[in-house]
């Protein structure tokens, strides 16, 4: 069992998949699998990004309040 990939790992894998799909040297069966995996990675990256962005905004708001 491998640990949850980091954002950077997920991003790297996603970009690798896109590159392979665009090069087109992929079997038809594999094509579906890769694409599915890619979509999964997109979802994961997007949610991680949204989470980070949310945290930053929240912290900034809290610090601004305690500043004034």
């Amino acid at each position: 069992m491998t640990a949850e990939p980091t954002f950077e790992q997920a991003q790297a894998e996603l970009e690798q998949i896109v590159d392979r799909l665009e090069r087109g040297d992929v079997g038809l069966d594999e094509l579906t699998k890769l694409w599915e995996r890619g979509e999964q990675l997109v979802k994961r990256c997007a949610s991680q990004l949204a989470e980070t962005q949310g945290k930053i905004e929240e912290l900034a708001k809290r610090l601004d309040v305690s500043d004034s």
């Binding site: 954002f7 991003q11 996603l14 970009e15 998949i17 896109v18 799909l21 665009e22 087109g24 992929v26 038809l28 094509l31 579906t32 694409w35 890619g38 979509e39 997109v42 990256c45 997007a46 990004l49 980070t52 962005q53 930053i56 900034a60």
Partner: protein, 377 residues
């Protein structure tokens, strides 16, 4: 000189004056000599013809009164002070009126200025050879010191200069001041003790400050014990001793050398106003760059997603195109296409006819539009 005495009841009796004069005359025959000792009770006044001092043997405590004509004393420009070691060149003299004996000085020399210098130079070479003054030993000062230790003279201008410089630049600074002797034989051990004490009290930087002074005044700051204590000090040391041209050995062993006490004060603390401005800038930049980084990642992800969506369709499309091409090529290879261009396939009972058949042979001819029979001639 003839000393007169009178006969009283068979005894030879001298008057006090005659006695003193007799002793004085005898003393006057003694040679002029050098006497070494420590200056104490130095008394000099403009209206006095002579300057008086007591020369003392520091080890045994033995004393002798010394006097010297004031003009001669002033001409030496020694600026002597109590506690200094000197060599006095003079001869014994008796003041006949009071019967007091003194050493009449012809000249006075500071003892061992040359000897001090030579010893200092030797010590400097020795400590340098040990690596005490190496540049790589120098530690950086803390950016924002939590507790500053200041070692300086009691009520000295140096103390005020350092404190003013520190509080002007960085009002919230905490300073512990250790007032010690800053000249004389007790100075070096006192300063060493102050270094230890302040370090135990948790200072994270140490300033040793003393204003200018004579070569002798600054000697304690070249004392081996003090120099070693500065080098071994667990926290960085700023040394501001004497003026620019003086270089006591403790300046060389310190992590930072300041030309004056004020400079030392400015060196140990950051400028609070600058610090605040920097912090504000950093705060703004931090928020901005964090958001920008998130946006950049989001953009990159959007790009990947778009490519991911189109890539499979493109892959399928490419395959479809390849199938189409293959179909077209296949079609092109079919003989029917050849017949369309006006060619015919001739068969006989054995199949394709490749050689001219014998006359009268029945043939079947296939053209694009269909098949018809024929006979060879």
């Amino acid at each position: 000189m003839k000393v007169e005495s009178t006969e009283v009841d068979g005894k030879k009796v001298f008057s006090v004056r005659a006695f003193n004069e007799g002793i004085g005359a005898w003393l006057g025959k003694l040679p002029t000599v050098w006497v070494e000792g420590e200056v104490t009770e130095l008394r000099r006044q403009e209206r006095w013809a002579s300057v008086f001092l007591t020369l003392k043997d520091p080890e045994s405590g033995a004393c002798v009164a010394v006097q010297m004509p004031r003009r001669q004393f002033d001409a030496l420009e020694l600026a002597l002070e109590d506690g200094e070691r000197v060599h006095v060149y003079g001869r014994p003299e008796l003041y006949a009126q009071r019967g007091s004996f003194s050493l009449r000085a012809l000249t006075i020399e500071r003892f061992g200025l040359g000897a001090h210098l030579a010893a200092l130079e030797r010590l400097k070479r020795e400590l340098a050879a040990e690596g005490l003054f190496l540049a790589e030993r120098k530690r950086p000062l803390p950016r924002i010191p939590q507790l500053i230790g200041l070692i300086t003279g009691n009520d000295a201008a140096a103390k005020r200069d350092v404190l003013t410089a520190i509080t002007t630049r960085f009002p919230p600074a905490h300073v512990i001041v250790a007032e010690t002797y800053v000249q004389g034989p007790r100075a070096a051990p006192a300063i060493v003790a102050a270094i230890t004490d302040l370090c135990e009290r948790g200072v994270d930087v140490l300033v040793i400050a003393r204003g200018g002074g004579s070569f002798e005044d600054l000697l304690p700051f070249s004392d081996e014990r003090l120099v070693r204590a500065v080098a071994a000090c667990p926290v960085p040391v700023v040394s501001a001793v004497g003026h620019e041209q003086d270089t006591p050995l403790c300046d060389l062993a310190a992590d930072v050398r300041a030309s004056t006490p004020s400079v030392a004060g400015r060196l140990v603390v950051p400028d609070l106003a600058e610090l605040r401005a920097w912090l504000d800038r950093a705060h703004t930049t931090l928020g901005r760059s964090a958001r920008r980084l998130c946006e950049r990642h989001a953009d990159r992800l959007t790009g990947s997603r778009t490519r991911l969506r189109t890539a499979p369709l493109l892959a399928i499309e490419r395959r479809r195109a390849r199938v189409g091409t293959a179909e077209a090529r296949l079609k092109a290879l079919s003989p029917r296409a050849t017949l369309e261009r006006g060619y015919a396939i001739v068969r006989d009972a054995n199949g394709f006819v490749r050689d001219p058949p014998p006359a009268g042979a029945a043939l079947s001819v296939e053209v694009a539009g269909g098949t018809f029979g024929a006979r060879a001639e």
